[in-house]
Each structure stands twice: as C-alpha cells, then as structure tokens.
C-alpha cells in the first residue's frame, strides 16, 4: 500500500526571464515501510521533491497524496497541522531547539499535538533509549556531539508516530562512526517497527544501505532501483 504518491509533479522557479524546472513531471509512489534514498547531483531536484512530499513547498502543478489525501489542497495552518500529525523531519543541521533538553526536544511535537504528559514521558524515554541516548536525556544540544544531536532529531521525528520520515542529507555533517551508528538505528527502526524512511543524500554509505534508490537529474527521475535485503 502506497503511503506517498505524487502525480506529474512540477516545480518551476523563475529567475529573471529564465524558468528553472526543479521538478519536471515527477510521478512516484512510496510504499509503507520503505527505506528509500533519493540521490542525484546538486540541482537535480531531490530536495525539492522532499519539500513537496513534506508539504513544505507548494508544487507548481501536480498532486501529492499522503495516505490518499491530496496535501497540495491544504493551506496555511491546515498544512502545518498535517505535517505535525503525519510527517517526521530529520534535517542536515539537526535543528534541535537549543534551549530544550534532549528529552524536551523529542517530546516537543507530541506536546504540540496535545499528548498527555505521562504518555509523552514514556514515549520520549523509550525513543531516546532506542537511539542509544538514555543516559543524556537532560542534556541540551550544546552539550552533545553532532551524532548524538542527529539521533535526538531522529527520535524527535519518530515521536508523534508519523506516516513517514523525511531526512534531508541526515549524515552530511557526521563522521563515519556517527553515520554508521545513525544508519544502524534507522535501519533497525525501519525493519522492526516498519517506519518509512525517505532520504535525500549524496552519501554513498546511505545509498549502500537503502533498499530503494531513486536517482534524479534535471528535475526528472532517471532511474528507480529496488534492492533486496
């Protein structure tokens, strides 16, 4: 069953008299439980595709269905609410809230959703232990390494039980050991809990671990490779 489906998605940016086709008729389906890497050179449209399926950027034309709901029809706070309930984000630069502890960061989205404190507390503890950070729950981002911050970001993305997680170059700022560690955690969560991960990446280590690799160039999908276990 597809969790995400894009139909003839286009995104055109105007730069003076020129038009840049960041997405040029992209149609793709992502199945529930996939571990997918979107790859391609800079400017190929992979981040634009992730932004479109994350409801962060409005496409010029086409549709994005998430669990059969066309999110291109949602506006303003409707879209913000949709993102909060259905999509988890992991950013290249971690983007944790500096003034909150690891545990508070993980629980933040659940708090926005109005999850009761006891449930929130149990879930944040469970997730931080799952990403191997049970011992630094009370530390703030500036007291953590980059790898630890990205693991907190993964736990934060997972906390509200989203339909899928979009990770934009999640390993770009990490060293090899932290990258492997993070990929192990995400692969385990994908396998054991069936969480759908979609990455945009240049990192060969991520590409090697992905079970599906979508390659883009000039705003088009030029190959879509599915791999076995």
């Amino acid at each position: 069953m597809s969790v995400i489906k894009t139909i003839d998605l286009t995104k055109v940016y105007k730069q003076g008299d020129y038009e840049i086709h960041a997405l040029d008729g992209v149609s793709v389906e992502i199945e529930n439980g996939e571990f997918t890497a979107v790859v391609g050179p800079s400017g190929s449209g992979k981040t634009t595709l992730l932004n479109a399926i994350g409801g962060l950027d409005e496409p010029t034309s086409g549709s994005v269905f998430v669990n059969n709901e066309d999110i291109t029809q949602l506006k303003g706070n409707q879209l913000i609410d949709f993102r909060m309930k259905h999509i988890g984000f992991v950013f290249q630069a971690y983007n944790l809230i500096p003034v909150l502890t690891a545990k508070e960061n993980v629980g933040f989205v659940m708090l926005l959703q109005g999850t009761p404190e006891a449930e929130r507390d149990a879930r944040t503890t469970e997730l931080l232990e799952a990403v191997g950070l049970g011992d630094i729950m009370k530390k703030r981002p500036n007291q953590m390494s980059g790898g630890q911050q990205q693991r907190v970001a993964v736990a934060r993305a997972l906390a509200p039980k989203p339909a899928y997680i979009l990770a934009d170059e999640p390993t770009a700022n990490l060293d090899s050991k932290s990258t492997e560690n993070l990929l192990d955690i995400m692969a385990r969560l994908n396998k054991e809990e069936g969480i759908t991960f979609i990455f945009s990446t240049h990192d060969q280590r991520v590409i090697d671990r992905a079970r599906r690799v979508i390659t883009m160039e000039d705003g088009k999908i030029i190959s879509d490779e599915r791999r076995g276990e």
């Binding site: 932004n51 994350g54 962060l56 950027d57 303003g76 706070n77 913000i80 609410d81 993102r83 909060m84 309930k85 984000f89 950013f91 290249q92 630069a93 983007n95 809230i97 500096p98 003034v99 909150l100 508070e104 933040f108 989205v109 708090l111 926005l112 959703q113 934060r156 509200p160 934009d168």
Partner: protein, 408 residues
C-alpha cells in the same frame, strides 16, 4: 502554552550579552525617566509651596477697585472690614489671616534706587501666614529696630549694596498726594527663593506705614492660610457670597502661573515617560529582530514540525515581553530607592544656586513621585513591549520553512 512560555523565557537568556544590554537599557531608562520626573515634581512642588508660603498664601482678599487699580485709596471699606473680620474669625477652615497696607514707592541709597511695593505688616500676625521671617539671610524680623525698620529682599540688597543695619530712603505718595521721603533702617535681608519677588517687595511695620501715609489703618490686602490648600476654594466662595465690594481669590487665580504649573506637570510627566518608552521600544525591536534573523533555521524547523504561526507569534511576543519586563521591577525598585532617598535628604544644587534662585527655585530639591506614576510606567512598558514584538514576530511568520531550515 506552558512550553511556549518556557522556551520564550529560555530564549531570552540565550545571548546573555545582548539581553543584558537591553536589560540594562530598560533599567536605566526607567530609572532616568522616573528620577527626572520626580526631580521636576519636587522642584515644582517646592516652588509652589514656597510661593504660597511667602507670597500668595491660600487666598487673598482685596477691594474690587484695588484689583482693577492698585492705588493707595482703593483700600477695603472699613465697614466691610468689620463684617469681614467677623466672618473670617468664624470660618473653621481658616488657619490664620494677616492684614496688609500696601503702597508703591522707591527705595533709594547712595548706590541707586529701585521701585518697590512697600508692604506694611503686623510682624507677629504676619508670621502666622508667611514664612519670610524664617528666610532671613541676615538680621531680624521687624522686632529689634525701634524706628522705621525695613526688611528687604536679597536681590534688592545686592543691587543697592545694602545689608542689615544700613539705612535707606523710602519715597511714596501719601493719601493726600503729598510726596514723602523718609529714612528707614534695614533690619533684615530675606531670600524668598524667588529673585523677582525679593527685588520688588519690602516689608515695614503696618503702624509706621499708616502713620506716614496719614491713613487710619488702611487695609489693602488680607492674606489667608487655610487648614489645607483644598479648603481655599470653599472659603473663597463663602466670602464672595457675603460681600459685593471685595473679592476673595484663591492661590491659582492670584498667581495663575502656579495653577498652570500644576496642570502642565501632568502633561510633562507623560511626555518625558513617552520619550523614554519610545526610545526603549526601538532598542527592543532591534534586539528581537536580530534574534529572529539569527534563529531563522530554528524558526523554520518549528514551522516544519508543526508549530503553527499563532504559536510562533506568541513565542516571539512572550520573548519580547519577558526581555522588557524582566528588567522593569529592578528599574522600578532602583527608582523607588533613589527617589525615596533624595526625597528624604534632598539634592543640593548649590552650583546652580543663582539660576535656581532667579527662577524661583530653592537650591535644595526634594524628589517626589506619586505611586500612580510607577503603575503608569509599568503599564506603558507592557504596552511598548507588546507593540515591539509585532514587527519581529511578523518577520518570523514570513519565513518559508523549506528555505529557513537550510539557512546558514
């Protein structure tokens, strides 16, 4: 909401130096503003009290003809005076009264001459109404020199190079239009705190003056102190209701500039406070704008993960209000402490004494501020903080989350 407030509060202290600068500006702004206001009020209040105690009293009574033309012949009708004395004696709101004989004249010495108003008073009675007796730089108050003593003001004494013990010549026209010029001995030199008054008014004994004027106890003016300044209006009304040939006038009519000072003070306070708050607002907007621009990526992330625009706006608003209001209690406390201290011990502005004296101010100023002004400035800061938050918060809401999360 609790978490939004918590994040906002912690955000305030993320950049301690920058927040500290704003914090210090708010503290200093409040302190400076309130102190200047309290100093102005203290000076005005002191000037008003001093003017009332030395010159104006709470109210004055004159013949209506005297108000139109301050001639010697326009004294209060003797029959009216008898009735008036009875009324004043029965009026419970009156604390003390003094009757004066007044004539225009000239003081002459070897160093020159000056036109003055010669005021004849009963020294013992006058002491119950005015405080000139207590403001003598040198000499005594019409009780030592037996023949024709005179009290003159400091400015006049300086102009004519006079001092206690020295003789002057007083010239004036008597009731029968005879010109009189007679010697007086300076018994004391007073400083009322108002250079203009000191230059133009001399005091002599009423009996001496009436003898010289060949009038029988002519009374041109009755000055009255009530139990409180607020009683003046009612006493004036009571007197004016009984008599047609005299007119009682309260202090703010006798000396309109004193009344205007009272009215203007309220406006001045609001203007001073508004200028300070206006300046602070710019500082706060600038700081918050920098904070919002610096945190573009973080704000983008908040919008990405589902924090709606209302909550982002609320968070920025709380940050701004916290930044402003955290400093307010310290500024208010510092102001209260300073104003209370100088209210009790005064500020000695001796280095500008001459200027103060010429403008009618005493060089010792006691700061004074109503509790309501502390409330007003707190309210103004809260309003200013709320207004200051609008522009930075709107700026934050305009971020495109997809671009903002990638901001460097």
């Amino acid at each position: 909401m609790k978490t939004i407030i918590k994040i906002a509060w912690r955000n305030v202290w993320r950049n301690k130096l920058r927040s500290g600068v704003v914090f210090a500006s708010v503290v200093m702004g409040i302190w400076a503003g309130l102190f200047v206001v309290s100093l102005s009020i203290g000076m005005m209040d002191q000037s008003k009290r001093s003017t009332i105690e030395t010159q104006v009293s709470h109210l004055k009574i004159h013949a209506k003809s005297y108000i139109k033309d301050e001639k010697l012949v326009n004294d209060i009708n003797p029959e009216t005076l008898v009735e008036l004395r009875k009324l004043l004696a029965d009026e419970k709101r009156i604390k003390s009264t003094t009757e004066r004989t007044i004539v225009d004249g000239t003081v002459t010495t070897a160093h020159g001459f000056k036109n003055v108003k010669i005021v004849g008073v009963d020294p013992l009675v006058e002491k119950t109404v005015t405080t000139i007796y207590d403001r003598l730089d040198t000499g005594t108050y019409l009780n030592k020199v037996k023949n024709n003593p005179i009290i003159i003001g400091r400015s006049l004494a300086d102009d004519l190079k006079l001092d206690a013990g020295k003789s002057v010549n007083l010239s004036f026209i008597t009731a029968d239009t005879t010109s009189v010029s007679i010697g007086f001995k300076t018994e004391g030199v007073y400083s009322s705190g108002n250079g203009g008054f000191d230059k133009g008014i001399v005091f002599v004994k009423q009996d001496d003056l009436n003898d010289l004027l060949m009038t029988e106890s002519a009374v041109h003016e009755i000055a009255i102190m009530c139990n409180t300044i607020e009683d003046a209006g009612a006493v004036v009304d009571a007197i004016n209701a009984e008599f047609t040939d005299i007119e009682a006038r309260p202090w703010n009519v006798v000396s309109p500039e004193l009344g205007y000072t009272d009215e203007m003070m309220g406006t001045s306070i609001m203007i001073i406070l508004s200028i300070i708050i206006f300046a602070l607002t710019f500082g706060i907007v600038n700081t918050m704008l920098m904070a919002v621009l610096e945190r573009k990526r973080e704000l983008g992330m908040l919008l990405c993960v589902g924090m709606n625009k209302r909550k982002v706006f609320t968070m920025i608003m709380f940050e701004t209000v916290f930044l402003s209001l955290a400093a307010a209690p310290i500024g208010l406390l510092l102001s209260w402490g300073t104003i209370s201290y100088f209210g009790a011990y005064g500020i000695n502005l001796m280095n500008v004494e001459d200027a103060m004296y010429q403008f009618g101010y005493d060089p010792m100023v006691y700061t004074k501020l109503d509790a309501s002004v502390y409330g007003i400035i707190t309210l103004m800061i809260m309003i200013a903080a709320s207004i200051s938050s609008i522009y930075p918060a709107r700026k934050a809401l305009k971020y495109n989350p997809a671009e903002a999360v990638r901001a460097i």
